[in-house]
């Protein structure tokens, strides 16, 4: 029920924005979906696999840079962009995942962070592609008659990718593969004793989850027509975790809700009158990151299942 309502609301954003002549909110909700997609991807390993990756922002970067770099060389074909992004992401995720899965617990968190930092500094070092300052993209990925330059078409393309990912995610967590992944989260030792080569399944999940983030990066580059190392700052990896946990890690849709909450609250603190006394209102607006931090701490201390997790029946 809640899921249908959320998706219908997202589908209704473009006509509403057109009616209210507020194109800015189209971009805002496109961002919500893109980051929600990345958080959903992360949540496959985080929520269902119990593997806390603190480096998934690097895959957003891979997807975005694939578009940026190919565009800089005059390649505008969307399928080329997509294929390059996914191939690069899969290769990186296979390598990084294999090394990281040698460790568990805190060491896993840290080593995923270390790899993300490496890729971040690599991007900073790509002086031909803007280095620290990033790189503007001259034209959006070309998909024949599908003109992503039209904001509404771009919005619905992102929406379609989101829907497909949701469906696939929902099937996956209840499939044999999902059972193994969730079982390994609960009791990895026991899974091995039952005869499952656990690491192989975890690596597969890691690669799938990375590819969803690559997809999100690909869409982000097309939305902003810009890529920069900032897309893969460690704070972004942290925010993805925040979104997943805020929305609820036990559900497929939860991270999308978390992304919406995080981005919309930040937007609301920045843009809307809150009816607070003069001075206080200014103060909150100027220091909204602190307010957000407070919210995150409260959520972590007080909430066990996330906002969406509390509304919807759990996936199990």
């Amino acid at each position: 029920m809640a899921a249908t309502a959320i998706l219908l609301a997202l589908a209704a954003v473009p006509p509403l924005c057109a009616a209210l002549a507020q194109p800015y909110y189209l971009t805002l909700f496109a961002r919500v979906m893109i980051l929600g997609l990345a958080a959903m991807g992360l949540n496959l390993v985080l929520g269902f696999g119990g593997l806390v990756s603190f480096g998934h922002a690097m895959y957003i970067g891979v997807g975005a840079y694939a578009v940026g770099i190919l565009d800089a060389h005059g390649v505008t074909g969307g399928l080329f962009h997509l294929a390059a992004a996914l191939a690069a992401g899969a290769a990186l995720a296979c390598f990084v995942g294999t090394v990281c899965l040698l460790t568990r617990g805190i060491a896993f968190i840290m080593i995923t962070l270390a790899f993300a930092q490496m890729v971040f500094f690599l991007a900073v070092g790509l002086k031909e592609y803007g280095g620290d300052d990033g790189l503007s993209i001259s034209a959006r990925s070309a998909f024949g008659p599908l003109h992503l330059d039209d904001p509404t078409i771009l919005y619905y393309a992102i929406f379609a990718v989101l829907l497909l990912t949701l469906l696939a995610g929902h099937r996956l967590v209840h499939s044999r593969f999902g059972m193994v992944l969730r079982g390994a989260k609960l009791n990895e030792r026991r899974m091995a004793a039952l005869g499952f080569p656990v690491r192989r399944y975890q690596l597969t999940a890691y690669v799938i989850s990375a590819l969803v983030c690559v997809l999100s990066g690909f869409l982000l580059a097309n939305l902003t027509r810009f890529v920069s190392p900032a897309y893969m700052q460690w704070q972004v990896s942290g925010e993805l975790i925040v979104m997943a946990v805020l929305g609820g890690t036990a559900t497929v849709l939860g991270p999308l809700v978390g992304a919406a909450i995080l981005l919309l609250i930040e937007e609301a603190l920045a843009a809307f009158a809150m009816g607070l006394p003069v001075g206080v209102e200014e103060f909150v607006r100027d220091h909204r990151l602190g307010a957000l931090g407070l919210l995150i701490v409260l959520a972590a201390v007080g909430m066990r299942r996330g906002v969406y997790g509390a509304l919807a029946p759990s996936a199990h």
Binding site: R171, S175, G183, G195
Partner: protein, 248 residues
């Protein structure tokens, strides 16, 4: 069925397993007992593959498995239960057993179809639940099961994975007298249909069930034989009476 040849495992200067040799015949129920610190846990760990021996060989069903990882041993037919009941608490009882069946029915790189609608997984799982008398609780979340019921579920899972040899690591630990009597009975009915290695503190169970008993002290076997032989063995009496008189 299972042969340990000159197995050695050291922790620092301490020999937890000290040139251990042991032969377990197909179909027998072989109990391993010994005082605390005799190296039983280390031995179980080496059998299931979680601990790698420093030296020696483990041959299972005619195959050297000394260097095989845990999941390969499990697929080769070496099943084990844990000292601490370790079922998957977020899953239903049925899903727990489905996982056990799934492990033995091909790879699990299947991403689309719901596992709990696959007949080839559900049917054997239900049969295993019925065998331990848990059919009524199939859909219940394991978190809501009582301790004894979880242990029975554990047995159902082990059975569903159709092992050739079953490693039971203190299955009676933490059970009430009635529960452990029931489990003893169930094990008695399993006897003969598969090989069982039983590590147990509860001596009544050991002598009621075991075909043969091996006594482990300081990482070596000091005696192997039938229950009666072990009871009569002066070396065993001394090893035990010195430390654990009340057990006898």
């Amino acid at each position: 069925m299972l042969r340990l040849e000159d197995l050695v495992k050291h922790y620092g200067g301490l020999a937890a397993t000290d040139h251990l040799c042991l032969e377990i015949a197909a179909g027998e129920l072989h109990a391993i007992i010994g005082p605390n610190g005799a190296g039983k846990s280390t031995l179980i760990g080496q059998l299931s593959g979680e601990i790698r021996p420093d030296q020696g060989r483990i041959v299972f069903d005619g195959r050297d498995i000394t260097r095989e990882p845990v999941h390969r041993r499990a697929l080769a037919g070496l099943g084990r239960s844990y000292q601490i009941s370790s079922v998957f608490t977020e899953f239903s009882a049925l899903e727990n057993v489905i996982l056990a069946v799934q492990a033995r029915s091909g790879h699990s790189f299947r991403f689309w179809r719901r596992a709990n609608t696959e007949t080839q997984l559900v049917q054997p799982a239900q049969a295993a639940l019925a065998a331990v008398g848990l059919s009524d609780l199939a859909q219940r979340s394991v978190a809501s099961l009582a301790h004894g019921e979880r242990r029975q579920l554990e047995i159902a899972m082990t059975l569903a994975s159709k092992p050739k040899l079953l490693l039971l690591d203190e299955p009676m630990a933490g059970m009430s007298q009635a529960e452990s009597a029931e489990l003893t009975q169930r094990l008695a009915t399993l006897k003969g249909s598969l090989t069982i290695v039983l590590v147990e503190h509860d001596m009544d169970t050991v002598f009621a069930l075991a075909d043969r008993v091996t006594v482990l002290v300081a990482g070596r076997t000091i005696a192997t034989g039938t229950g009666a032989e072990i009871r009569a063995d002066p070396g065993v009496r001394q090893a035990y009476l010195g430390e654990q008189e009340e057990s006898w």
